[in-house]
């Protein structure tokens, strides 16, 4: 699949990753356009159902980006998000979707470089994995 362009959903916490994404912008750090951000007030707001629906609708990859350990504005939303991601990864495996397509990442608002780097790495990874089996089956 040479011209495969993955579609990746990134649930980004308003206080860290979303700001980091803006910062990547103001620093003009290029990264692949495959990542589409959905802003949430806290990564802890990301619902298992939203993650699974993203895959059902055709996402090739999903990641949740929350604050660094101990930095959550709401105390522990980032840690809760990480647990949900781990739980849903197992479920994806049951369904027959590579669990690597779902990931939790952490960064602070100042980490524009990291945002761009994560976006590139995850895009590369998903590109190598190929289209999601769901999308492939539906096509």
């Amino acid at each position: 699949m040479k011209d495969f362009e993955p579609v990746i959903v990134a649930f980004c916490c308003h206080y860290c990753a979303y700001t980091a994404a803006d910062m990547a912008g103001s620093k003009r750090l290029f990264y692949p356009s495959n990542v589409k951000i959905i802003r949430v007030p806290c990564s802890g707001k990301v619902d298992s159902l939203h993650i699974i629906k993203a895959f059902e609708k055709g996402a090739d990859g999903v990641y949740v980006a929350g604050c660094l350990e101990g930095d959550c504005h709401f105390k522990n939303g980032n840690d809760k998000a990480a647990k949900k991601v781990a739980h849903m990864s197992k479920y994806l495996e049951e369904i027959g979707i590579e669990p690597e397509r779902l990931e939790m990442v952490r960064m602070s608002a100042g980490m524009g470089e990291r945002f761009a780097q994560v976006a590139s790495e995850i895009t590369d990874k998903i590109r190598k994995l190929g289209p999601s089996p769901i999308k492939a089956a539906a096509a």
């Binding site: 990547a24 103001s26 003009r28 159902l49 629906k53 504005h73 939303g77």
Partner: protein
Amino acid sequence: MQKTERSQTNNRVLVVGGGLGGIRTALDLAEAQKDVVLIDRANNIGGLMTQLDRTFPTNNCDLCTLAPHLSESNRHEHISLMAMTEVQGISGEKGNFTVSLATRPRYINLEKCTGCGECLQQFPECVSFTPGLDHRAPTCMRYPQNTPQAYAIDLSKCDDVAGLVKCCPAGAINPDDLGSNGDIACSSIVMSPGASLFDPSGLDYLGYSENPDVVTSLEYERILSASGPTQGRLVRPSNGAQPKKVAWIQCIGSRGLQKGAAPYCSGACCMFALKEAMVTKERFQEDIETTIFYMDMRTFGKDYERYYERARDEFGVRFIHSRPHSILQHPGSDQLELGYTVDSNSSLQTEEFDMVVLSTGFKIGDQAKELANRLGLELTSSNFPANPGLNQVETSTPGIYVAGTFQGPKDIPETMVQASAAACMAGKDVTPLEADSEQEPLLPPERNVVGEEPKVGVFICDCGENIGGVINVESLITRLEKLNHVIVVKAEGHGCSRESMENIRQTIEELGVNRVVIGGCSPRTHESKFQDLIRKAGLNKYLLEFANIRDQVTWVHGHQPEQALNKAEALIKMAVGAVCESQPLADHSLPINKNVLVVGGGVTGMTSALELADQGFKVYLVERTATLGGVAAKLYRTLEGDDIQDFVSNLIKRTKDHEGIEVITGGIIVDHSGMPGMFTTGMQVGRQMFYRQIEHGVTILATGARPNRPELFELGNSKAIATQLELQELIDQDAARVKTWDNVVMIQCVGSRTADNPNCSRICCQNAVKNALSIVELNPEARVFVLYRDMRTYGFQEEYFQKAREKGVIFVRYQQDNPPQVDHADDQATVTYHDPILVREVKVSADFLALSTGLVADEDSSEELAMVFKLPRTEDGYFLEDHIKLRPVDLPVPGFFVAGTAHAPKTISESLIQARAVASRAMTILAREAINLGAVTAKVDSARCASCLVCVRACPFDVPFINADGYSEIDPAKCHGCGMCASECPAKAIQLLQFEDDQVLSKIEQLFEKVVA
């Protein structure tokens, strides 16, 4: 130069210095409905803190915590911000100052600049940078929340002025900018321009100027920082290799230890070094060794001792009690050799390190000194503004107040406290503005859109070249026009310009648009602006979605215009999907009860009460004992010599006489309900335990701490053994007896910094110094021995410590595991201790043994109050503030504040500062007619609720509860809007408004519309 008259009225406060403290002062005043002019020399506000990587004791990145304060200060209607501006001169007096200001040219029109950075891209050399460690710092906008959100031009470095002007897509560059001079009238002035850091270049033996691997602690901070010159990679400046061994040397430029060093202690460097060492260890674990060379570890702040213990015990930071005397680099070696001696061994030790960090202290720089002179402020010998009495924020000139490191060396929490206290003082000199009189023009009524088919208007900014330069906005519009529910798509140039905003408003009104999508920059910076716009167009402000097609599309996919166009289309489609699901929401607001409840009738409580009552608020001051005065009533003099008895009795008299204060003694709080702005608190009063209720808008806790009296060192078993508190009474009341003493011993840290009570009591070292000085004054022949673990005479107290040493007071260090031994007779105490210099036991027969027993939290009252008010406490029983750094006197429950020793041990003048700080914080609430709580709150659908308690348990703030009907209930006034309950609810009974499931799922659906039909 233009000469402009900036204002006629003087009903405002001038705040000089836009660092953290200045921002806090300005925000406090503005929230109390008072006008402020905030000026700063630099291009942007933020000060020193924006250069820090992480801050103690939370070791968090501070960008995210500071940023909201910065943008808040820019938006605030009562604050006018003037960057690149300095004070030239002053005339007039309190209530009516005239200050002349000079503003340097920025060569950029702030009204037009969008912060796009095109100028920096094309003419990097002309855009002025802010000095970091590296001259090639990537941008002069040090961080994304920069305020003002604009660059500055250094015209002297520019060869092609015409080219530069042309490169700006917004036409904001104006080479003819001359800057401006002008006068401003104001009633009071708060000075918080900050301090400078000691420059160690002059100290040859440290090799700072020659050796790149010797850095100051701030430079090290920049190296660690993700936004610093190395992007957070810790490397040796000399060779780019990762260091394996790093040493910190404390007290550089402080405590009079070096040539040119200040005589005082800089107060913050010990914690600063601990933080850097811990962060370093945290990142590199076993790969790196960290060593701190110190004189006294001064971790005297709230819970700081614990931090020190963690550094030592959990992180393995090594501590050496020594003052290194040289840093050498031998020819051919790339290692730094530290030479030092330790207590028990007089021979020279050496050890090699890869990097050495100099913990440089604060000093008043020439600019600040000159500024103080221009204002006519009296200065101390160290060039800090002299203050006339117990109120640290006052100066020799009435109406001019100081805060932050300009007042004296200190850390961030203390700066924040002083900043609020200064706001309290300065605010007294101005009258608040009628909240509604000059408010926004009348808004049209909100159109009822419920039940209407969504009619979405999409407005796309090209933001000059920022968006339009990468994607073709016209073809984007063509693609979007076919979308379901979209009735209009328009390009709007610079959407945030006045003209475009007006166009958008007209389009909404003319076409009956009932949902709006803005395709442009980030909602973080512009959402509220467009919310206001659609509200003016008669729509509820929550019927808006943002598609961030600049920061997150064109700026980052400039190399792939086609993909950028596709992504912009996708993001806008998602926004359209979400906005169709959005519903009008009401901001929650509550009316404010303007009464204040102050709990605790010590000096702190009385001072808070008086400050608030003076500004017209009704105060109930509840004291559980029968009398006012608290612990201070037992004190006689401060270290600086102020008469406390006199002060306290004056304060009591003023409090009792004040019309606005109702003093309730013998009052015990028993119940409490309500929400911020409308609390009801019940108490039992007097011997009859008569029950009464008080309604109030805010609550201030000033319940104090209790003098500790542990049964250690034979305390209580001999007349010759007593606490420092008792000693100071003897000194004042029975000088004749004190004069007869030949030998006096003092033991520090009695019952503090122990396993039972791990924190430092903060006040004891200066107490010991104070009493020791009094004793040698009464009897110059007396020999006073102070046995200590670390002398913690921080800040200006250090000078008294030095004075005591000069007067012959003997200070001997002891180790916690080898404490002095005490034997007693009825009128004598024999103290045996290990002398680390003599390396042997020494026995002293003392006429008096004073134990520095410090303070402990008053468990009785604080535990009960914590339960009644549902407030958290620290492990050792003090009330726990909301944010240890930035909100040190705000409690986590909105509407509650803490001051004085109920917060942590502190001196009287420190307590008084907090007393004024809480008054200021309280006024930020009391000045409003209502509290707006926003609309992003969780809402329970009781028909679906299974009462499973998941929300109750998931909420980080304990807001949800199962109500009398048996369903979960979430009080919108308390909800913080994180949405964790919504995401965990197994019955899908909770929605977080503005981020509802339908909105999120609709975004997903729109994104994949093509993939699965």
